[in-house]
Symmetry: C2
Subunit: 329 residues, 2 copies
DNA sequence: ATGAAAGCGCTAACAT
DNA sequence: ATGTTAGCGCTTTCAT
């Protein structure tokens, strides 16, 4: 790869002039400009981002942290982020942490080292202490999962209210024994969704059975299968299930299929997220839709504002209950 | 962020000595080393990757190009790549191109500019000419999709043989009217899978109906739904379907459900990839399993070898037919 | 064992 | 309009 020196030499000008041509500075005569451009083409020259970043302290690269790309929930958010970033001449790099703190650290360092201009974290397992430290001096935005009372701006939905609506929907259908397939309550969203679940039950004077609350370590399909297997072993079985993610719900639905249960007749189920799969299952899945694309767009805009040094406010977006076959008796 | 200068000053040594401590060079006295380490801690110093890369021409970052993260097929491959990379002290950055050449170009530039050490492309829409150019001077590996007779090393499976087996399986079950839901035949894998499909039909003296071959623009679920809708409008309807991706197959399956068709009784279906969702459908999906994790591991190893300057050979891995309910009468 | 200094590729302030 | 030069943070050769 040729460098700016060689271009300058070939064009018979100084490196400064080449730099000016590269950056569209005005004060270059048309003739010189043409000579430089020819040299650039001839040498197949492309400016080094490394040198440029080192000088400018700007990379126009954004990092997106997520625990795992296997959950389709993230897909649509990422599209939103990506579209917005590209439109503003930024690029994004997806960083899968696998909930591994060491890996996380490498990505944090990329920001500290000016290899990236900012970071959007969608990783609920993120080390909040480290992230807060990073956020003191660098642009950071939280998307979906956030820290209550924390300093980092976030975009999310009202999980408590959404869960409340989902469960209320089941109650209105006549269900009184409603199970919750939750994830680990170390996550804020899991605590919120449980609160919404309990609020709905309480409002209708239904008892809260702790054995009807299952905590899943992960959010894979197989975890949903496992969850429903457990719930169906109970003495007093639930007649409906609310799962805090579509992946869990789809696994649970499969588990019901396998047991020969008719959904929703024998058992109803509601998921959460509205991932594209949820409309492909048989029966299709009732779920809470999160405005994923919009969340991505907003997160990206927030981050870019933050990079510009502007103050940004956290936002809570609207969700929506999507009623499909899994609750349509 | 403190820099190496400040650390040197604080420790009362030169920057060279700090650098030596950082890089575990031997010739530093224990006492000096301790002083430097204290200064590093005190200042919370972390070396700048930018400065380091500029100097070393090494980033220990690998780029992974993919058209879209929404296809779960890529997920497992990425895990394989990631695990292997991490184990060798490399990190990976996921680059979604959305089949957009401009975006592609930015990532190519990252490699040219030493911001990344090499690239694994899983993008069938990649601009092969540009990629070949890049590969002349930089480590590049193709994964899954490749170029026949090209210069870039690849890891893939035998798509023709896999398709042949899938279709033969349907024929052995007694099907004589077998449709193919293919993707765009500008992709090599699509051409190969069609060839395998045709070879099986020919071997059993079954006619090739061009109207039973559907070409889908994309690989989303909805495209599968659309495909089967078309095939069911035909005068002479097929009794079985082979789809070149699980996402298409799952969409098609959904389309059959909607039409009230019993699978596999009324219509059998075979997919391709064995994504995790293919075991969650009702009925579960017969499919060709690609060794995705292994492909990722091998691709990463090939790339790292290539970075070391070693010669690497292309590899074709084994696939396997996974028989599930969608073809079990 | 340690330091001084060059240089990786680039941009921008200053000079002409 | 164009050139000269310092310096971004680091590593490494060459001195000492």
């Amino acid at each position: 790869m040729a460098n700016i020196q060689q271009v300058a030499q070939k064009a018979g000008v100084s490196v400064a002039t080449v730099s000016r041509v590269l950056n569209n500075a005005t004060s270059v005569s048309p003739a010189t400009k043409r000579r430089v451009e020819t040299a650039i083409k001839d040498l197949n020259y492309e400016p080094s981002m490394l040198g440029r970043n080192l000088r400018n302290s700007e990379s126009r690269l954004l990092l997106v942290l997520l625990p795992s790309i296997s959950n389709p929930f993230y897909t649509e958010i990422i599209n939103g982020i990506q579209n917005t970033a590209i439109a503003n001449n930024y690029n994004i790099l997806l960083c899968e942490t696998d909930s591994n703190p060491e890996r996380e650290n490498i990505y944090f360092n990329m920001v500290k080292n000016k290899l990236a201009d900012g970071i959007i974290s969608m990783d609920p397992t993120v080390n909040m202490q480290k992230l807060n430290e990073l956020a003191e001096n660098h642009p950071v935005i939280l998307c979906s999962e956030y820290e209550e009372g924390g300093c980092i701006p976030y975009v999310t939905i009202d999980s408590e209210q959404a869960a409340y609506q989902a469960v209320k929907h089941l109650i209105k259908l006549g269900h009184e024994k409603i199970a919750l397939i939750n994830s680990d309550e170390k996550f804020l969203y899991a605590r919120h969704r449980r609160e919404g679940y309990e609020r709905a039950l309480k409002e209708f004077h239904l008892p809260i059975h702790s054995e009807w609350i299952y905590h899943s370590k992960q959010l894979d399909f197989q975890d949903g299968v496992q969850a429903i297997r457990r719930l169906l072993q109970l003495e007093e079985k639930p007649t409906a299930v609310f799962a805090v993610s579509d992946t869990l719900a789809i696994g649970a639905l499969k588990g019901m299929n396998v047991k020969g249960l008719q959904v929703p007749h024998d058992m109803a189920i509601v998921g959460f997220d509205n991932i594209s799969f949820s409309n492909m299952t048989n029966p299709t899945l009732t779920t809470i839709e999160q405005p994923m694309h919009k969340m991505g767009v907003i997160a990206a805009n927030m981050l870019m504002s933050s990079i510009k040094g502007e103050q940004v406010e956290s936002i809570i977006l609207d969700h929506e209950l999507i009623i499909r076959e899994s609750t349509m008796g």
